[in-house]
């Protein structure tokens, strides 16, 4: 009921507003339409210019107000290129923005209709067209060159000595697998997945899996100044490993392994000092809509020194050991059984 009352009220209010606005039309007739038209034209030109000036002022204000909330400079070596390229693009587009918007509103003011004024009959100018086609083309070419240079760096194969970590998304958290002592990630098969004791579907017939470590709390431990290569996968729908501090991002697609690599520059501890925030933590965000818990699919990255990392690694039990040896074969048969059922 109250909804209807509310809707009726809104309708009445808008009806009244319309009537008031309508009155201005009658007033215009009384005051002489031509005169009112000229006054309105003048008013609109002034309002547009006011909008432009306030807008430019607002841009500056907005910038000073929001810069304090930005994340710090790139925490990865490869992301430094992003930061500088972003700045270059910002300057280029900023110049174009200011020039074109200024011209737009300046012309609005300068060429507003005045009594007796006539527009010039100018239909085209091929020289101008040529100039403003060529200049943007050259500028764009410049940006493409910078962009591709960075793109090639980012997408080139990871260095041989890179640490390898697998990150697998599932609704709605990240599973992280380290290769263990042998440095090799064993094979896995989605048919062997079992939420109780084989979350990634590791193939236990593959010896390489026996020492693999799986962390289910979404913590990615990596080493400062050492390249890390992430092998990214998904168990169910598409997710995306977003690493805003490192300026990196890559989709996690079921059935396809994707990779990114980067070199962290600062440990988490260093960042705590740098950002003046004792609780600072690198976050992994899911950047591809993946269902109702998308917004809560949070992981963290712990960047540490090699010594800290080794100490941490030494404390970890392999996934095989966690689920202790005797229980595993049973799980294996269960997984095989479910595979046969599905087939």
């Amino acid at each position: 009921m109250s909804v209807f009352i509310l809707i009726t009220l809104v309708v009445i209010v808008f009806g009244i507003i319309y009537q008031i606005a309508k009155a201005s039309e009658y007033a215009a007739v009384l005051n002489g339409e031509e005169k009112v038209k000229q006054q309105t034209n003048k008013l609109m030109a002034s309002l547009l210019v006011a909008f432009f000036l306030l807008g430019m002022y607002g841009i500056v204000k907005c910038h000073t107000a929001l810069m304090q909330h930005m994340i710090p400079e790139s925490a990865s070596v490869e992301g430094v290129g992003f930061d500088s390229m972003f700045k270059t693009t910002l300057i280029v587009t900023g110049i174009v923005f200011v020039i074109t918007q200024t011209l737009l509103f300046w012309f609005v003011y300068k060429y507003q209709s005045r009594p007796g004024a006539k527009a010039a009959f100018i239909s085209h100018n091929n020289k101008l067209e040529l100039i403003w086609t060529t200049i943007p083309a050259i500028v764009m070419a410049g940006l493409v060159v910078i962009g591709l240079k960075n793109w090639i760096t980012i997408t080139s194969p990871a260095p041989k000595d890179a640490q390898i970590v697998e990150v697998v998304g599932k609704q709605f958290n990240w599973l992280i697998r380290y290769p263990g002592k042998d440095g090799v990630l064993g094979n896995r098969d989605f048919r062997k997945i079992n939420d109780e004791n084989n979350v990634l579907g590791l193939d236990w017939n593959d010896k390489d899996n026996k020492d693999d470590i799986i962390s289910q709390n979404g913590e990615l431990h990596i080493v400062v100044n050492k390249p890390v290569k992430l092998i990214i996968g998904s168990r169910d729908v598409i997710h995306d490993v977003g690493l805003p501090h490192f300026r990196m991002k890559m989709d996690a697609v079921p059935g396809i392994a994707t990779t990114i690599w980067f070199t962290p520059r600062y440990t988490t501890a260093e960042m705590k000092v740098k950002t003046n925030n004792p609780d600072f933590v690198y976050e992994i965000s899911c950047d591809q809509i993946c269902g109702k818990g998308h917004y809560s699919m949070r992981g963290t990255v712990i960047v540490e020194t090699q010594a800290e990392h080794d100490a941490w690694l030494a404390k970890q039990q392999s996934y095989w050991d966690v689920n202790n040896a005797p229980a595993a074969p049973a799980a294996d048969t269960a997984a095989v059984a479910s595979t046969t059922m599905n087939n």
Partner: protein, 601 residues
């Protein structure tokens, strides 16, 4: 010649029909199953407006959640019932709202509502035709759209809610019922609705193309057409070539959902079991989707570009600057629009080499866009500017197109996209450029051609208020979002409070939400102005209220079916002859013969 004969027949037919003043058409054939392009245009427009209000209201609901995640709004429960129990939006339904907001605004409002309205209204009127090439197909086009609307509308009320995988509905999320509630019946209805929508848009598009190519009045060469027609023509070309690809993508998705195929599915463990599907590629869908999805952006932009060109020129009392350059840049945009789709997919693991090709082509499209902007600026340069409401919106269109277009240069460069992808930077970019800017083109068109549609004016005062609240509001909402995006804040999040990197923007989010609500009510002001003015607006008393040289203003104030009462006017000059007519006027209509010694432009 054949065409000419047909037109003469039509003239006679219409004379028979309208010979007696009150020998009117039946209500049903006049207003419902109408084959008159003007009535169909109005049908598209009004349906579009209704959808726009629904879509905008959805954004108000999810902005309340984003702005004030720890508060409850009992009023939401009144509208949304179980989905907002106790006034708190359910996360599942938040995603449904976001998805529907996108689908509705992109397809139902800015595609059907925009080119459906203005292509229908203006193509026959401005090229001098009595109606579309096939009025019957045109009617079908609207009714397919209407049926699509019904299916989409029904999906809002079902128990599991409408589709909730984002407007792009990427599988596997959209393919598997286990993945989210909206991927059940809601997704089926979404697919049915969208398939019907594609049919509607193809029927419309083919009609627009054949009308422009075949039905021009004598003397109306292609290079004498107003830029609106050029823009609608290329819009239709884009739609006809890309919508079928989208449909094929949908068909495969329907197969994956219902018939056990594995086009998009591979190696999935969900709902506690491993699915049998192996060998599909989730990325294939994205290729098919964006092969439409990117041209779609231009399907939304081009009509606004065409109308802004026309309205800027008309209200500057000056020809459009660089008419030919404008057409060439439209062609450039149309061709390139098909070659840039994968810039939406830089971070899907696609081959980096392929990525770099798409960087090049994407940044290339900035060139014709820049050319258009410069030509608009030089159109108003040395003009005699009349600030009608339509003109203000056209100017706003240019301002927003610049702002939103420039941020595209960031996103089109893969090395920047790798950080900005799927953040609020993208949200800000596309809302400014293809959301608000396209809307400004549409508003400009509505205010400008309302007199032709209904024989009355919309109220100016309300129009001016509407304009200023909307442009100020749009910048206040979307400008700061760029900063959130640069900070890496992901889009489509229900709540940021748990995220240390992003929760410092909470105050800003609340601010944006408040502005959104204000802007929403300003749009209602427009809706009221629109509907009340149909019946109570100031009557149009002169045939050509904007003193425009184009043909639509040579028809009677309230044109009947067939548009011109006598024979169709013959065209002697281009659409932008804003020069002294020798009698104190500052333009010469297209149907005025050349004077002695005068050269055609």
């Amino acid at each position: 010649m054949n065409n000419e004969a047909m037109l003469h027949d039509a003239t006679h037919a219409s004379h028979h029909d309208h010979g007696h003043e009150h020998h009117e058409q039946h209500f049903i054939t006049k207003y419902i199953f109408s084959q008159d392009h003007k009535m169909i245009a109005k049908q598209f427009l009004i349906t579009g407006i209704i959808w726009a209000v629904i879509g905008a209201l959805m954004s108000v609901f999810f902005r309340l959640q984003l702005g004030f995640p720890d508060k409850t709004f009992p009023i939401m429960e009144k509208f949304l019932g179980e989905w907002a129990k106790g006034g708190k939006l359910n996360p599942e339904f938040y995603y449904a709202l976001v998805t529907m907001h996108g689908t509705i605004l992109v397809f139902f409002v800015l595609t059907a509502g925009l080119s459906g309205t203005f292509s229908n209204l203006l193509i026959p009127l401005q090229i001098g035709a009595r109606d579309m090439a096939s009025p019957f197909m045109n009617m079908l086009s609207y009714w397919f759209f209407f049926t699509a609307s019904v299916f989409m509308f029904i999906s809002l009320f079902i128990e599991t809610g409408p589709a909730s995988g984002g407007w792009t509905t990427y599988p596997p999320l959209s393919a598997l019922k286990e993945a989210s509630m909206g991927s059940g019946l809601g997704m089926d209805l979404w697919l049915i609705s969208m398939a019907l929508f594609v049919v509607s848009s193809l029927l419309g598009g083919l009609n627009y193309i054949s009308t422009v190519l075949n039905m021009r009045t004598s003397g109306m060469t292609m290079t004498r057409m107003p830029l609106t027609i050029w823009a609608f023509f290329f819009t239709a070309v884009l739609g006809v070539l890309s919508f079928p690809v989208l449909l094929s993508g949908f068909v495969l998705l329907i197969f994956d959902r219902n018939f056990g195929t594995s086009f998009y599915l591979s190696e999935i463990f969900i709902g506690g079991r491993a699915l049998p599907n192996v060998g599909g590629s989730a990325i294939l869908y994205q290729h098919l989707f964006w092969f439409l999805g990117h041209p779609e952006v231009y399907i939304i932009m081009l009509p606004g570009m065409g109308m802004a060109s026309e309205i800027l020129s008309n209200n500057s009392r000056k020809p459009i600057f660089g008419y030919l350059a404008m057409i060439i840049s439209l062609i450039g945009i149309t061709v390139l629009a098909f070659l840039v789709w994968a810039h939406h997919m830089f971070v899907t693991g696609m081959s980096p080499f392929l990525g770099s090709i798409f960087v090049l082509l994407t940044l290339l499209i900035a060139v014709p866009s820049a050319v258009k902007v410069f030509n608009w600026l030089t159109t108003i340069w040395k003009g005699n500017l009349r600030f009608t409401v339509g003109m203000l919106f056209a100017l706003g269109f240019v301002s927003l197109f610049i702002s939103g277009g420039l941020t595209g240069i960031f996103l089109g460069n893969s090395a920047l996209d790798i950080h900005l992808h799927d953040t609020y930077f993208v949200v800000a970019h596309f809302h400014i450029v293809m959301g608000v800017s396209a809307f400004f083109g549409m508003f400009a068109g509505i205010y400008h051609w309302f007199p032709k549609m209904f024989g009355r004016f919309m109220n100016n005062t309300l129009g001016y208020i509407h304009f200023f609240i909307t442009i100020v509001g749009a910048y206040l909402i979307f400008w700061p979002m760029h900063y959130e995006g640069v900070a890496g804040m992901p889009r489509r999040y229900y709540d940021f409070s748990a995220w240390q990197s992003f929760n410092s923007f909470q105050g800003l989010n609340a601010f944006i939400s408040v502005v959104t609500i204000i802007v929403f009510f300003a749009q209602l002001l427009f809706v009221v102005n629109f509907f009340v003015s149909i019946f109570r607006g100031k009557k149009v008393t002169t045939q050509n209220p904007w003193q425009s040289p184009t043909l639509e203003w040579t028809t009677p104030i309230n044109p009947g079916h067939g548009n011109w009462e006598g024979p169709i006017p013959t065209v002697y000059r281009w659409a932008y002859d804003y020069k002294d007519n020798g009698e104190g006027g500052d333009f010469i209509a297209q149907n005025v013969p050349l004077k002695d010694g005068e050269e055609a432009h």
